[in-house]
Symmetry: C2
Subunit: 301 residues, 2 copies
């Protein structure tokens, strides 16, 4: 069974599977596990690893339209090196502070492969599900897509820093601001929302499944990050990376067209309208062509 089949199996067992995070008793709870081999390519500093792993969970909180309350991390490594550990905690704490959450530590654990498990907790009275998109709604994306793809390409080309606290260009691109504030601003208007951690293409497919709808997406409108353009040979390659690589942790939301102006006023980051919601029979098209369900499957990358 691959990860997606296993998740589908659990949907029958556990109600909350299917959204970015669980909702329980007014709280939003989400957990992730990341591993050196699959999630932290050579060059990723421990500062970035701390930021990124905790940030990934905070992004799930953001995707529900919730505020960030707290995050914890379990840090497992073959050895505990003071500089590495402190850099990790610094990154974890900085990303929490950026979104007004509190990093409250966690567990330490001896383990062969550097592995991090994070949990973030948020609060909202009115979580935004993936299931409410309606034909006629507009599809929006926060920020830009392709930063992580660009970071990976730079790491691959040798932009590797050895300082655990390194924050150079590739590491900078590999970090991100969890869209807590944008998610809260979108929440009163959004009919459906999730984050783009598995890539825009896969996110759109997951939204159509949850909302029983289709999408017409305009390739020109997709906010391709300059960094991924600069490491790509063609615009087409850059668009492909921005659409399918994932790990960008932007929000993908659907909002009624009448709410678009209010949303633009409220959201504090660039917001691109990239398409419209159709009936489910229409499927998902990018510039008129069917958009395949390709993207990043966590733990298999």
């Amino acid at each position: 069974m691959d990860e997606r089949a296993a998740l589908a199996l659990l949907e029958g067992e556990l109600d909350p599977v299917g959204d970015d995070a669980a909702v329980v008793d007014g709280l939003i709870v989400t957990t992730d596990m990341l591993h050196e081999r699959t999630d932290f390519p050579p060059g990723t500093s421990r500062y970035t690893a701390g930021w990124r792993s905790v940030g990934a969970s905070l992004s799930d909180v953001a995707a529900m339209g919730a505020g960030a309350t707290a995050a914890v991390a379990a840090y497992a490594a073959p050895e505990f090196v003071e500089d590495e550990l402190l850099a990790f905690v610094r990154g974890a704490r900085d990303v929490c502070e950026l979104v007004d959450g509190e990093y409250v530590g966690g567990d330490l654990d001896g383990h062969e492969e550097f592995t991090v498990a994070t949990t973030a907790i948020g609060r909202t009275d009115d979580p935004v599900p993936r299931s409410g998109a309606r034909p006629g709604d507009v599809v929006c994306v926060t920020g830009t897509l392709g930063r992580s793809a660009a970071a990976l390409e730079l790491f691959r080309r040798g932009e590797r820093e050895t300082d655990p606290d390194a924050r150079g260009r590739a590491n900078e691109l590999f970090r991100f601001e969890p869209r807590i504030a944008a998610g809260r601003a979108l929440a009163p208007h959004a009919t459906a929302m999730m984050d783009s951690s598995d890539g825009l293409a896969r996110s759109l497919h997951q939204l159509t499944e949850a909302s029983d709808c289709g999408f017409a997406i305009d390739g020109e409108a997709i906010p391709v990050d300059d960094a991924v353009r600069s490491v790509s040979e063609t615009d087409r390659e850059a668009l492909e990376r921005a659409t399918t690589f994932g790990e960008d942790f932007e929000l993908v939301a659907t909002v009624p067209e009448t709410a678009l102006e209010a949303v633009r006023d409220a959201v504090d980051v660039p917001l691109s309208t990239i398409g419209t919601v159709l009936e489910s029979d229409d499927g998902i098209s990018l510039d008129g062509e069917p958009l395949a369900d390709r993207g990043y499957t966590h733990g298999e990358g």
Copy 2:
């Protein structure tokens, strides 16, 4: 740096380190990571693994005197086998239901070694720290000690079940009831509290460090479980295992002598008074002999 040195390092960085769980904004949050090699000996069924890993985090919530709100788990394994996954979830859910918490799922992740990261969330307005024990207080322990040591010995002797859902004798001993109800009943009276996950001896040492006190412990009064007696050659060996093996997830609390009767009435499980709190200069003695700081260090076992 070993795990304890690393934890000591982080105490300077993060305030909440030093209690069983962090307190933030009215919530109790705690996280743990467990690995097949160090935490799930051959014979442990996936049902037991789900129960035990989530239960360990719930025990930390109990140690703060809090009620259980929710728990999540990230499940990482080389492959996802339907029976194993469902048995794990069943165990995780059953232990949550036992303490009126909600298991809300988590993350799935491909990984070489079966690894579980759990987070539990609780609520209390008045968390019990490790730091309030006062000379003259009585030292109490819930339940019995040595169940996990007995389970391990039975696994070692070949009592291994292959069914993922197995709940035979060794697996039964390897599960436990997180002391949420007892913790809540103790909370109004307890001056200090923690769980015995690292063994009674180490817990007592940690309480003396936090509370700046000493203890006189009566070996006869330590509630040695019958199961660990039955796998030990002598009473002395059984007591040694019950005192230092750990992983039993009982509560160790100090309460004023005047509150003892009220505590006994309120707590719904056997409660043993095993000693008294002394001044810090007195150190920790067991039947008049110094009690060494020996026990289970997570992740190194």
